[in-house]
């Protein structure tokens, strides 16, 4: 749920509550005032009638309401003395409304100078409470709608304006890539909370970038520093092997050790290569003809292909020229071609297709799909090739990421395929 909707939800819920209470209080207050003014009117009317009755005795004979709104009826003295003046609500048939309506009635008592006692009832038409409540509810509803609508509009505008630094930060963070961006620039803002947040995020990212750089640097340094000791150890064993003073068994042990040092060397070189790719140390770019490169690489592996009895078909639907570092292009193609050879079976085949925006290499192999998510991971290797560094495809991925090329693995009917695709860059407008 968006921030805007959150505020609106809370606002509308509390507004219902507040407006309801307000309506009740308002209604009570208003009714109070209405009663007050009607009763004042009735009292005033009472005084006028009693004064008039003192001079005009015909009034005393008017003992039904009829056209006027009072009625006088004689009453026993004892009763009159005991009774008190009272207001009450009662219903009366109204000709206009053609129904019984609520009226306010004042019942009071008075005596004439001839010591006769009368009961006087005066009525005044009351506010129609049900209509009033309905009107009030109606008004309230509109008020509610109007308040929510304006809150929505204002909120929307205010949020957009005030929260802009937040959305900007969000956008920056979304596009931030650790390892690619060397620094992080949070948006400028005058709102102190956002400024705090930006600073915190920037600080955090700075620490992360530093840690990441350090880690990369460490891998590179470590790999680099390992080269010389590895060289010395390997060469010493080679010298020892050449002197062959030992038994056959000892010779084999030495050879074995060399083989492992060799593996270590390859691993080390691969790691060094990976960190160099990630550190963008292959800046030099030139136009690389991938058609030629693929043809040449498969040709280079000709003897191995012949030995493994693997047929290669190259379908060139277009000529593919990418601006690429020559070394990386070489490494990329060697790795994928070699991969297709190694994981093939004798008598298998490899199909290479070159299209306008990419190429694909499909090969026969084991009748089982590889782990799509894991094959590009470092040190992932298949059980049938334990001596592999498990870095070949990780290097492939690093290279294609560097050039924004999409690589996908797919498996169908015993055919393993890798597709490399890059959306053509829009032509530069001069």
């Amino acid at each position: 749920m968006k921030l805007l909707n959150h505020t609106l939800l809370y606002l509308s819920a509390s507004l219902i509550f507040i407006l309801s209470i307000w309506a009740v209080v308002f209604y009570i207050g208003m009714m109070d005032e209405v009663y007050d003014s009607i009763e004042d009117g009735l009292e005033n009317y009472k005084i006028l009638i009693i004064q008039k009755a003192g001079t005009d005795t015909t009034l005393l004979g008017k003992n039904y309401f009829g056209e006027s709104n009072y009625a006088i009826r004689p009453i026993a003295k004892e009763k009159a003395i005991m009774a008190t003046e009272a207001f009450k609500d009662t219903a009366m048939y109204m000709e206009y409304e053609e129904s019984l309506e609520t009226v306010r009635m004042l019942t009071t008592y008075f005596s004439t100078p001839d010591d006769r006692y009368y009961q006087l009832k005066i009525i005044a038409s009351m506010v129609e409470e049900d209509d009033l409540v309905a009107d009030l509810m109606h008004a309230l509803l509109w008020l509610y709608v109007a308040v929510i609508a304006s809150a929505f509009i204002i909120n929307n505008w205010v949020l957009r304006k005030i929260w802009r630094p937040f959305y900007e930060l969000q956008d920056e963070l979304r596009h931030f890539k650790l390892g690619e961006d060397k620094s992080f620039n949070p948006p400028q803002t005058r709102v102190s909370e956002f400024r705090d947040m930006n600073e915190t995020v920037a600080e955090l990212l700075k620490a992360n970038i530093a840690a990441f750089q350090q880690q990369k640097q460490f891998i590179e340094n470590a790999s680099h520093e390992l080269q010389t000791p590895l060289a010395i150890a390997m060469n010493k064993l080679e010298l020892l092997l050449e002197q062959h003073y030992g038994t056959e068994e000892q010779t084999q042990l030495l050879a074995n050790a060399i083989q492992y040092l060799e593996r270590l060397t390859r691993l080390n070189k691969a790691l060094l290569l990976l960190s160099k790719i990630e550190n963008r140390q292959f800046a030099r770019e030139e136009a690389i003809d991938f058609n030629a490169l693929l043809r040449q690489q498969t040709d280079d592996f000709g003897e191995l292909l012949e030995y493994k009895d693997i047929r290669v078909d190259i379908t060139e639907q277009a000529s593919l020229v990418w601006s690429f570092n020559a070394d990386l292009a070489d490494i990329l193609i060697t790795n994928v071609v070699k991969n297709a050879i190694i994981h093939n079976h004798p008598g298998g085949h490899i199909q290479i297709r070159i299209e306008e925006n990419g190429f694909s290499i499909t090969n026969t192999g084991q009748a089982k799909s590889l782990e799509t998510t894991e094959i590009f991971m470092r040190f992932h290797r298949t059980p049938d090739n334990p001596a592999s560094t498990g870095l070949g495809l990780a290097i492939v991925r690093s290279i294609v990421q560097f050039y924004h090329i999409q690589v996908t693995y797919h498996y169908e009917n015993g055919l393993h395929g890798f597709t490399f695709h890059r959306e053509p860059r829009p032509a530069a407008v001069n």
């Binding site: 680099h224 080269q227 010389t228 590895l230 060289a231 010395i232 390997m234 060469n235 010493k236 080679e238 010298l239 092997l241 050449e242 062959h244 056959e248 010779t251 084999q252 030495l254 050879a255 074995n256 060399i258 083989q259 040092l261 060799e262 593996r263 060397t265 390859r266 070189k269 691969a270 060094l272 290569l273 160099k276 140390q281 292959f282 030099r284 000709g302 003897e303 191995l304 030995y307 493994k308 070394d327 060697t334 790795n335 070699k338 190694i342 090739n385 001596a387 592999s388 560094t389 870095l391 070949g392 290097i395």
Partner: protein, 224 residues
């Protein structure tokens, strides 16, 4: 043949010296930039092995100096940095080859031989052993004057054996020489084994006066 090794790492230097002495070279060494400078200004060498990462200077400056002194030495640059820029700079400055640490001694030997061959006065880039003649330019092999057809990898293997004759060659050194510096070589041993099998058969069929000896689990040796 006089060879100068400029390398600050004592053990590596010793390894190379020990290995190259067996090739009947006259081997001298310098452990730092300063003594290297002195040596190249005083003496002439046929080949210089130059480590670019010296503690007291950049090895590439030695190349600049050689150029300045108008010396004809062949230089093989050795570096722990497998960087193309270094390589290109080295080759631009007149180095003949570039080798990345770690390397197999047999590979170093092959590179030195290649450099020295090119320098040889007769300009014929070939090696003759008994009744066999290997031409590096045409990539051909002749036995008793008859051409032997070899595929590219067979030729590479044969050439590596020829320059490292009578030396035990570890199979991983051979694999690396044949395939270059690839990420995974381990799976190529079978292939190399089969190529050598073919090669041995061809040599035998043509009556070559040399033999590729297989040392089980270790590697091979060309015995003359």
């Amino acid at each position: 043949m006089k060879i100068l090794i400029i390398e600050d790492e004592a053990d590596l230097r010793e390894n190379i010296i020990q290995f190259l002495r067996k090739e009947q070279y006259l081997v001298e060494s310098a452990s730092d930039f300063h003594s290297a400078k002195e040596k190249i200004s005083l003496y002439d060498y046929d080949c210089i092995l130059l480590d670019v990462g010296l503690p007291d200077g950049n090895g590439l400056d030695i190349l600049r100096m050689l150029k300045l002194l108008e010396k004809q030495e062949n230089v093989i640059v050795i570096s722990a940095k497998d960087s193309l820029d270094d390589k290109l700079e080295g080759l631009d400055l007149g180095a003949d080859d570039y080798l990345t640490k770690p390397f197999h001694l047999a590979e170093l030997n092959a590179r030195i031989k290649a450099v020295l061959r090119r320098k040889a006065l007769d300009g014929r880039n070939m090696v003759r052993i008994n009744n066999m003649e290997l031409n590096f330019d045409d990539r051909t092999l002749q036995i008793n004057g008859n051409d032997i057809r070899l595929n590219r990898k067979e030729f590479d293997i044969m050439a590596f054996f020829v320059v490292n004759k009578n030396r035990l060659i570890h199979k991983s050194a051979l694999a690396e020489h044949v395939w270059g510096d690839h990420i995974d070589n381990a799976d190529n041993f079978d292939f190399i084994y089969s190529q050598i099998k073919n090669l041995r058969k061809k040599l035998k069929d043509c009556g070559a006066d040399l033999e590729i000896q297989a040392i089980y689990g270790v590697g091979y040796k060309l015995t003359v």
